[in-house]
């Protein structure tokens, strides 16, 4: 294939990887701080995509979808934490798995009641509906550039929040030694609610950004959930920077694989995961031991 084609696939891979990062970072944060695995995280992504679809259908442009997903997601996440997840931190893994599985079924059925089971495509926002010429024979979708930029901006904000703010320090401490956070008198419940709200907001935003690229369809969260798990396993559970690099890696491997060796591309990321598990079972960026 030509160089221009390769460049396009490379950019696609980066864009896909960054979207995966938005989903996987929420998963890994929620696990790191609360020790809970949210199987419904993929469904939250789906909710975001349908928010974009519904706002586009109602208002005629997708502009409103992004702030709606971000803010609505945060509120929704806080409510979920408050109403359900809070009671499950100390419960058995099995109970947590089934709780979040029940949420998947309820989200899917609610979607089916509200929107039905059809595929819908979502138009790209009019302002970004053009191509950016890069070389003489090659131009790239402006919307995909916008997605890359928004994801990178969110990633930077997330890094700064975790590394530079007081709340971030508490979150890092809670991920390391939750008992200590309690002992020194920090209200852990507020921390949990914040982390859950941020994770949910990121998942919904990823969904809203993805809707014009991948359309919206029933069960769309499942595939993204599984790939995000692979990202988290490779990156190391609870590590944000690990999630970032492994999301990029998975995005590139999957996209380039599908473009150049489609016959085996579906298996590539699992082979990668198997390799990491043999070489470093705690993930590339996880702590040893």
């Amino acid at each position: 294939m030509s160089f221009a084609g390769f460049l396009a696939q490379l950019l696609n891979g980066v864009q896909y990887g960054l979207l995966l990062f938005l989903i996987a970072s929420g998963l890994t944060l929620i696990f790191g701080v609360m020790g809970i695995i949210n199987l419904a995280h993929g469904s939250l992504f789906m909710v975001g995509a349908y928010v974009a679809f519904l706002t586009t259908r109602a208002v005629g442009s997708a502009w409103l979808a992004l702030p709606l997903a971000l803010i609505g997601g945060a509120v929704f996440g806080a409510l979920l934490e408050r109403g359900l997840f809070r009671h499950f931190y100390r419960r058995d893994h099995l109970d947590q798995v089934l709780l979040t599985f029940a949420l998947i079924l309820l989200f899917e059925e609610t979607r089916s009641i509200l929107v039905g089971n059809d595929f819908y495509s979502v138009p790209v926002p009019a302002a970004f509906d053009f191509s950016v010429p890069i070389t003489a024979g090659f131009s790239y979708s402006a919307y995909r550039f916008a997605v890359i930029a928004i994801c990178l901006a969110l990633a930077v904000v997330l890094f700064l929040w975790i590394e530079r703010t007081r709340m971030g320090a508490i979150i890092r401490a809670a991920a390391e030694k939750p008992e200590m956070v309690d002992v020194i008198g920090i209200d852990a419940r507020r921390v949990h609610m914040t982390v859950f709200a941020v994770g949910t907001a990121l998942a919904l935003t990823a969904g809203a950004l993805a809707a014009p690229l991948y359309s919206v369809y029933p069960g769309m969260g499942d595939g993204f959930l599984i790939i995000s798990f692979v990202v988290v396993v490779i990156g190391g559970l609870g590590s944000i920077s690990g999630a970032f690099w492994s999301a990029l890696l998975i995005g590139l491997v999957d996209t380039l694989g599908k473009a150049y060796v489609p016959a085996v591309a579906g298996l590539a990321i699992y082979v990668l995961m198997a390799g990491v598990l043999i070489w470093r079972p705690t993930g590339l960026f996880g702590q040893r031991g």
């Binding site: 499950f88 089934l98 995961m273």
Partner: protein, 356 residues
């Protein structure tokens, strides 16, 4: 895990009731019962991992589905092979896949283990979903394995088939239960129990816990293969849905529904879960909500409630929520109310208080 003497009698009585069921029920319900027995086998095989060893796997459905697909792949188009060929091959395929997945995923623990089993399970799902190997997304029909043994073949007519297949499933379920009961009484079973309670201690005692867990994972996967083989035989049809991880999650639900503490719990859970799955159908046939609300003059509202009540996933989701919130010890943890219990000669109430 194992029943008391009285519990064993109750189980034997339950088995007799199940054995008599085809004489009492219509064909539709016999077929439904076969579906329930297959689900019971799947849940029972998973219980070896979850309840006995403390390994929560979300990839178990993949071994089940792989076994069903193995039957499809080895069966020629026109005639079914002997069950003596298909069953060992299906079990072998499921066991080999479990060996591969288990060897890798058991290098991790806890939620990591859960995520890795889920991811590898989905890998097997995508192999059949995305390629034309087994009919792709549409699935494929297959010729049922024949009930032949050493040149002697048990034949049945089309009308007899549901009853025959029901007994085939029942025999396998009982055999699986007895095998697991035997396994758990052995030293191997004791070690698994020790691993569930305190793995570090077992390692300190000198047991190579990785090997024991891997052995449990492979045995569980192979037994899931028995269930998958029976599914292919029952439905004569395979599609990717049977491999997907929702199947694994449902099996976990059956275990939780029936209770983690017993070997018969998953069977109860599977029967209850399959019965529950019929509820929307029954509600759809009888239309109680539509009738009730139109009788009190709210016909439109009644139709809406009726439409909601017929939604299977909604019901399933709400039931799971109810179970994890209200019934953390499952149906097997249910006890007679206090004022009835003494009449049944149950143990004093104080001994079975739920641990907080």
């Amino acid at each position: 895990m194992l029943p008391t003497t009285r519990g064993a009698f109750a189980l034997a009585a339950g088995a007799v009731v199940l054995a008599l069921l085809p004489f009492m029920a219509q064909v539709y319900y016999v077929e439904l019962a076969t579906t329930a027995l297959v689900a019971a086998m799947l849940a029972l095989s998973l219980q070896l991992l979850v309840g006995c060893t403390g390994l929560v796997s979300l990839g178990h459905g993949a071994f089940y589905g792989l076994a069903a697909y193995t039957v499809y792949l080895v069966t020629p188009e026109d005639a079914g092979l002997s069950i003596m060929i298909t069953l060992p091959l299906a079990v072998l395929a499921a066991g080999a896949a479990a060996l591969f997945v288990g060897a890798l995923s058991l290098r991790t623990r806890g939620f990591f283990f859960l995520m890795v089993t889920l991811a590898f399970g989905q890998m097997i799902f995508f192999i059949f979903h995305d390629t034309k190997l087994g009919g792709g997304t549409d699935g494929a029909y297959l010729a049922r394995p024949a009930l032949s043994l050493l040149g002697f073949e048990l034949t049945y007519t089309r009308r007899q088939r549901p009853v025959f297949l029901y007994y085939v499933a029942l025999v396998q379920l009982v055999a699986m239960y007895l095998f697991l009961a035997f396994l758990l009484r052995s030293l191997f079973g004791r070690v698994l129990e020790g691993i569930r309670i305190n793995e570090h201690r077992m390692r300190a005692l000198g047991y190579d816990t990785y090997r024991y867990k891997l052995a449990a994972f492979v045995i569980g996967g192979a037994l899931a293969g028995v269930a998958g083989h029976m599914w292919a035989m029952h439905r004569a049809f395979v599609n990717p849905e049977i491999i997907g991880w929702h199947r694994s999650a449902e099996a976990l639900l059956m275990i939780l529904l029936g209770g983690l503490q017993s070997l018969h719990g998953p069977i109860l859970g599977a029967l209850a879960f399959t019965g529950l799955g019929e509820l929307p159908q029954l509600v759809g046939d009888a239309k109680p909500f539509a009738r009730f609300f139109s009788a009190i003059g709210l016909a439109d509202f009644g139709l809406r409630v009726q439409a909601l009540a017929e939604r299977k996933l909604l019901l399933e989701g709400l039931v799971i929520l109810a179970v994890v919130l209200v019934l953390p010890r499952g149906l097997a943890g249910l006890r007679w109310p206090r004022f009835i219990r003494p009449a049944f000669g149950g143990r004093p109430a104080g001994n079975e208080r739920v641990q907080p």
